[in-house]
């Protein structure tokens, strides 16, 4: 990781978000660089979800700027965030359960042939290529989502985000619902994203996972940014005391 000589894919500067009189996020600043995994940690209600929604275009910040590869952007919707190369893997995965893997991979962005009909061949071959690259072990691109295990579904959701993200992937608790073996598998997939030169922002409640995956850790407490640490230069005790505010 060379953090110094490249420009960040995403730069948040003095982001603030108020809901009426309540301040959910205050003065939040963070740079995420290509090929970097940043973990966002904090207790329940610390403002992690609000922050994710700001970056993914669901909420507009009350103040502050969002810069994507040097360009200041205003994002009024999730579609605009997607157009800027930002993809979100939601906690509920946002998969259509009764549809095939390949239809989910292209949901809302299905390619068509010159007759305006769905180009299933392209969807299937692109899906197979991607799940192979990411080593997501699913029976086939034709498999129906509801016939997959939790880890496989998570893998499909991450593969979809990887396929479309050119700048940044937001992962919201990617392994919260998974067993041990599946968690390891998903962690391996997340780790492999580093080679794709996109930034990854991951929310996780598991400090073990955070220390295993991330390059840097950003701590939020009650909407305040407590600090950012390089993972290699900190330990769990420091992060826990930053999260809880207790020494």
């Amino acid at each position: 990781m060379t953090v110094t000589d490249v420009s960040p894919v995403l730069k948040l500067t003095d982001i603030r978000k108020n809901f009426d009189a309540v301040t959910a996020i205050e003065n939040f600043s963070l740079d995420i660089f290509p090929g970097e995994i940043v973990a966002l940690v904090g207790d329940n209600g610390a403002g992690k979800s609000t922050l994710i929604k700001i970056i993914s275009g669901v909420y507009a910040p009350s103040a502050g700027t969002i810069t994507i590869e040097g360009e200041t952007v205003t994002m009024a919707s999730a579609s605009m965030a997607r157009a800027h190369g930002i993809e979100v893997v939601y906690q509920d995965l946002a998969l259509a359960d009764q549809q095939t893997v390949y239809m989910n991979m292209f949901l809302g962005r299905e390619p068509v042939n010159r007759f305006g009909l769905l180009d299933r061949g392209k969807m299937i071959s692109d899906t197979e290529k991607l799940v192979q690259e990411l080593d997501v072990r699913i029976p086939s691109a034709h498999a129906t989502i509801r016939d997959l295990s939790g880890g496989q579904r998570q893998g499909v959701a991450i593969a979809r985000a990887t396929h479309w993200a050119s700048k940044l992937i937001l992962l919201d608790e990617p392994t919260a619902a998974l067993g041990v073996a599946e968690t390891a598998k998903v962690e391996a997939i997340v780790q492999s994203l580093k080679t794709r030169n996109i930034g990854v922002l991951i929310i996780s409640h598991s400090l073990d996972q955070v220390f295993k995956l991330s390059d840097r850790i950003c701590v939020l407490r009650r909407g305040k940014q407590i600090g950012i640490r390089k993972t290699s230069e900190t330990d769990k005790n420091e992060i826990v005391s930053m999260i809880t505010g207790v020494n």
Partner: protein
Amino acid sequence: MSKTNPSLVPSGRSLSLLGKANLQQYVVYLGFLAIFLFFAIVLRDSGFLTVRNLSNIVLQTAPVTIMAIGLVFVLSAGEIDLSIGSIVAVSALAGAVAMNGYGITAGIAAGLCAGLLIGLVNGVLVAYVRLPSFLVTLATMGLFAGVARSLTDLRSIPVTNSAFTGFFGSGTLLGIPSLVWWTVGAICIGHIVYRHTRFGAHVLATGDNNRAASVSGISVPRIRLTVLMMSGVLASLAGLLYAGRLQAAKYTLGETDLMTVIAAVIVGGTLLNGGKGSIIGALVGSLMMGMLNNGLILMGLSVSDQMIVRGLIILAAVAVSLREKSR
């Protein structure tokens, strides 16, 4: 891609799921075959198997098939349209009245516009006012049944325009009845739109998981509006087909079709709560309902007995197809 890690996919489980998925696709065809064979044997001396009788079944089924196509889209999007029967009556009457006054073009336009407008009302209330489609279309079903009754004071309106009755009813093209052309044409277009267009894919995604559809950039309200308008237009086309075949329009047209259409669609493999369906299955389901109707009449059952038997068979068919689908 068959890289299956045994620790993640117990292969026995996924195999049995595959088997089940195949079986459920064939339930409607097996049921169709079973009912056909039953009548073919029981009614072998009553003319069930004659070409004339079998083609009659297809002709009588045409309006139900057309409505079923619309309902496949509506159910797949996670909505329902209970107003189709009333749309049939209003459209047929509006078409007949307009045609008798202003000619065939006005008649067809009035009929189709009636369905389009009722579909628009349903669609706007469901998609943008966010009322449940069950309640909205329950209300418009009653409302437009009333409109149909008051439109001509319960009178039947004759349809005498021979171009119209030929085109929508008794005519033939290349020796094949126009009602068959309508059925085949509507099924082909419906199937292509449903299976092979982005719109079809978005309808399924909306009914399957509307949040997923929405965060994927699909306009869920627009999908809901569109399927209800399609259903309205297809029901009005069914109304014109009735008017053409019977050479008259009356408020009773379509009155009893709702249950038949829903049964045909469900038996044909479309889920009641969205995300999965089949246009071809709906066609087979609709033919099955027509065959049932026809066979029970030929068996000499009284109208009340027919209703009871039909209800029981539909119940059994729906139960079997739903049991196969929900595991």
